[in-house]
């Protein structure tokens, strides 16, 4: 039930916003968010944005995986 999905914020109007995932727009409540901007990605649970997704952190995770991949390739002589 704690299911939540990433959505991209398209418009903001006070405590509500329109956010998009898979080319479908949804109205979401953003009363628990501070400093949200158009273009931000948020985690949406039951119609509410519960947290902003941090792009820098996401890229960091992906780069760790990239490093692991490189390390593994070198180790296996690929």
């Amino acid at each position: 039930m704690c299911l939540a999905i990433p959505m991209k914020v398209k418009t903001i109007d006070h405590t509500t916003a329109m956010a998009e995932v898979n080319n479908v727009d949804y109205e979401i409540n953003i009363s628990m968010m501070q400093g949200l901007k158009i273009g931000d990605y948020v985690i949406v649970h039951a119609g509410f944005a519960i947290e902003k997704l941090d792009e820098k952190e996401a890229l960091k995770t992906l780069s760790i995986w990239k490093e692991i991949e490189e390390f593994s390739k070198n180790k296996n002589g690929l």
Partner: protein, 363 residues
Amino acid sequence: MNYIQEFRNPEISKIILHQIEEVSAQLERKINIMEICGGHTYAIFRFGINNVLPENINLISGPGCPVCVTSQSFIDEAIEYAKLPNVTLCTFGDLVRVPGSYSSLSREKSEGASIEICYSPMESLSLAMNSPGQEIIFLGIGFETTAPLTAALVLEAKSRGITNLSVLSAHKTMPRALYALLNSEMVKVDGLICPGHVSSVTGYSIYSEIVDNLQIPAVICGFEPNDILQTILMLVQQIRSDKAKIENQYSRGVKKEGNILAQKMMNRVFMPVTSYWRGIGNIPASGLEVAEEFNSFNARQKNSVAVPPERIIKGCICGEIMQGVKKPTDCQLFGTVCTPQDPQGACMVSSEGGCATYYKFRE
């Protein structure tokens, strides 16, 4: 980046899995890793992670499916509220099929009770505004991920001066229940896959006691397959080096301090109370009741009902399954008397209940 596909690259999965194999081979013993959240259980089965892990890593499902831990007597209580004149219940869809002692909300609805299914708690606000003279009761279930939403609903209703909306709360909070379960030593847990979205709200602090006092490694985890694999790798590394600390694999969605605004809303509208967890029992300070300041939004303060004595479902082992002591396939009702079409216990109802997940992905 759409925050989904990038975290599902199968090439990366293979490499992380290979690393898990290397590190776990050095353990020379079998370890139990508990995924607390039902969403993780579902993802583990959906992506087949359970089938590819080394043999000495045993995954156990924990008590993190809110519908599953909601007590039978809460369903009984909600049904009594649905019987009151001029009352409409508003609930998340998962809850309506959960068997109570004598009936379910879905059966009551088919027999004429006014019960509306909503996706967001805010829908009950529109319902209240459009139904003067009708009392709308929102059934508040869920953990720290969901409780702030109910809090936001109450705050919004108050600021708009709405008088025909109230909450029947069975919200639960993780820390006390998790500590009680892990401290009971009913099941030996070597590492915890911590729920990502609960943590988005709470931050790291709710795991401190588990890590410090019980010395169990804990890693906050995202919901994509490579998130889960990396979390398992981080846990196995901690176990191998005899460490117990909180790590955050899901740093893109969880800050150390959590969502302070959501916490403030939750703490303002609710107060901690003893709560009954289905199959586990009463746990002090593990539930949330609407605080006195908001009595006019508390269904129990507005109307009282007599709840019939609870009748336990014979043969159902949901309780032991949620404590990680038994697997769904250990239950004699599983797949025969109890199926998603005709569930006997709560774990078979919710899509992220252990039994429903096992049933869907059974071989």
